[in-house]
């Protein structure tokens, strides 16, 4: 147990370099309701909120949903449909599949027979060689797409080669890369894979400027960061493509974006990819199947249908942090591709959440306990106009709704605060003064509590509604 947790700590500290902090997304405080008033035994013994959270997580959680394969509904359940389905199987496996293998083989022959001479004979003509290699990689990717009858619709202007820009896309499978590469030879940053994919990575894809790394190697991170900086400066380099989620998600959700791509100080061009699941689920569940099996599955289906949107390039706003910028871009992609956002780090697939998150909950619990203990002999104090306002803010449903919806739309604490200020002034002007007189007199500690609640509890509320929206109908 101990060594295990040590390992987790070590691992998480290694990953921390690139990982966006959950704290930056989660509001301070936990979703455990902060009750008011004097501390009593039953408040201490009542651990039901924490237990409910735990049971809720056991029964259903938004994180696992992100990585759940959703195979298409079987339609061969009925006697009349079954023979037709059988015909389909025969066509798919015995006609389409061999034809596709043939196409792919031809593709490889053409590719290799021209790539090898280009690569070795044109050593002196770097520019020409680069250009030829680029179009050859695009060609082989087109063959790949053809091998699963890829019906891809590209929307928006094609990317051009320019320094100081980086493309970011949501990630469902390695075929995202092939689909995008077919149009433009991107240089991509990807996890180093074993097997034949790894061989391709280190030979051919290296030539278009792709950068490979090992997720768990912290040394790799520095190297990658340096390579990244060098790459975007070069005017002749292929446009850079980053999948900031860092892992494949099932195309229904987006997990948090790693902030690395947003810290480079260049224009970020979002790319949204949405697969149509009518024939096959394009999500590569790397835990359950190898990439080869995934490709075979695609090659034996009728077609892979997908939409690609090249979206409006975005720049970091003055005063915006990299994380806020990343969230803004994530918003744009999620809206366009119709994905739900969840406040999780995709790397949690490979590691346990760091103890920090639990500590946060413990901290808010302890603070509330200690505060309420002090409150023991709290007596009522003079009414203060500010107390009245924050009290109203606490109880007024419109402000809560407003904050919740605002936070739903843009999930960042910053904007939440802004809207909170807004609602504060709004409630104040419209209804507060008359009501303030009617309210019972709050104590100073309630004031501090009210302040805390007005920042954290509303944010928690908003987070919860976000989680709910993502995870569907449970809890509450």
């Amino acid at each position: 147990m101990n060594s295990n947790s040590n390992e987790t700590v070590k691992l998480s500290s290694e990953l921390d370099l690139d990982r966006p902090n959950l704290e930056d997304y989660l509001p301070s405080g936990s979703s455990i309701q902060e009750p008011r008033g004097k501390l009593r035994l039953r408040d201490l013994l009542d651990i039901s909120p924490t237990l409910t959270e735990a049971a809720g997580a056991i029964i259903d959680d938004s994180f696992t949903r992100c990585f759940k394969s959703n195979p298409p509904e079987p339609w061969n359940w009925n006697v009349y449909l079954f023979p037709i389905w059988c015909c389909g199987v025969v066509i798919r496996y015995f006609i389409l599949f061999p034809v596709r293998v043939l196409i792919l083989t031809i593709g490889w022959i053409i590719f290799l027979s021209s790539y090898i001479p280009v690569h070795f004979l044109l050593k002196g003509h770097d520019k020409l060689r680069k250009k030829m290699e680029r179009s050859l990689v695009e060609l082989i990717c087109s063959f790949f797409v053809a091998s699963w009858t890829g019906v891809v619709k590209y929307h928006g202007p094609r990317p051009s080669i320019r320094p100081k820009q980086v493309f970011v896309a949501n990630h469902t499978s390695m075929i995202d890369f092939i689909i995008l590469e077919q149009m433009t030879a991107f240089a991509v940053i990807m996890q180093k894979h074993p097997g034949w994919v790894g061989l391709l990575q280190s030979t051919i894809l290296e030539s278009v400027g792709c950068i490979w790394f090992n997720r768990s190697e912290s040394k790799d991170r520095e190297v990658v960061a340096r390579k990244l900086r060098d790459h975007i400066q070069g005017a002749e380099n292929n446009p850079l493509l980053i999948f900031p989620e860092g892992t494949c998600v099932n195309n229904h959700y987006t997990v948090m974006f790693k902030k690395g791509a947003f810290e480079l100080g260049c224009t970020v061009c979002p790319v949204a990819i949405k697969y149509n699941k009518i024939f096959v689920d394009a999500f590569w569940n790397s835990r359950k199947q190898s990439f080869t099996m995934h490709l075979l599955q695609l090659m034996t289906s009728w077609a892979v249908v997908c939409d690609v949107w090249y979206l409006e390039p975005q720049n970091i706003n003055p005063g915006e942090t990299a994380i806020e910028f990343a969230e803004r871009v994530r918003d744009i992609i999620s809206v366009r591709a119709g994905l739900k956002k969840v406040p999780w780090d995709g790397y949690l697939k490979y590691s346990r959440p760091s103890p920090k998150h639990r500590e946060q909950k413990q901290q808010s619990f302890s603070e509330s306990m200690l505060r309420r203990l002090e409150e023991k002999d709290g007596s009522s104090v003079l009414v203060n106009a500010r107390v009245g306002i924050s009290n109203i803010l606490l109880d007024s449903p419109p402000s809560l709704k407003l904050t919740a919806t605002a936070a739903d739309a843009v999930f960042s604490l910053q904007s939440l605060r802004k809207s909170l200020h807004f609602t504060l002034s709004f409630t104040f002007s419209s209804q507060s003064l008359s009501e303030a007189r009617r309210r019972p007199t709050p104590t100073p500690s309630q004031l501090s509590q009210a302040h805390r609640r007005s920042t954290s509890a509303h944010a928690v509320e908003a987070l919860n509604s976000l989680k709910l929206a993502a995870a569907g109908p449970y809890r509450l």
Partner: protein
Amino acid sequence: MGSASSVLTQYDIEEVQEHCSNLFSQQEIVSLYQRFCQLDRNAKGFISADEFLSVPEFAMNPLSQRLLKMVDGLNFKDFVAFLSAFSGKATTQQKIEFIFKVYDSDNNGKVSFNDILEVLRDLSGSFMSDEQREKVLRQVLQEAGYSKESYLMLDDFIKVLSRSGLKMEVEVPVD
């Protein structure tokens, strides 16, 4: 039972329903079974501690280690029985019994000062000192008419907790 593809028969469902005193509907049990199979990755018939911890929301819970001791290695029937306290149909008494079990880690039917202190330690971590925790606990116990030496029985828990409206419900998603 075991692999994700296997389907529960009506008999299975009724058996499980009986085991959890009919607190879940048949559809809810089917949903729970799907979830069980999803968490039980290599179809062992139970969910290991590691698999529970792979759910980050659970792993982040301050009481997760304590709950793990209760759920580790449960088969599906007991898994459902464990969760039945969170059903909307469960009575307050059943919910309080569950809370009592969480406190009573050595299963001796009574909760001592130290048992409560340990739960408090899980909940507050390093943000409260041992003295602070003891002070808080001694104080509230005294106010409620107990002392440091007294043991709390299930009846005491019922007396203390039943008045406050316990909100301990988790809806099982049914598709």
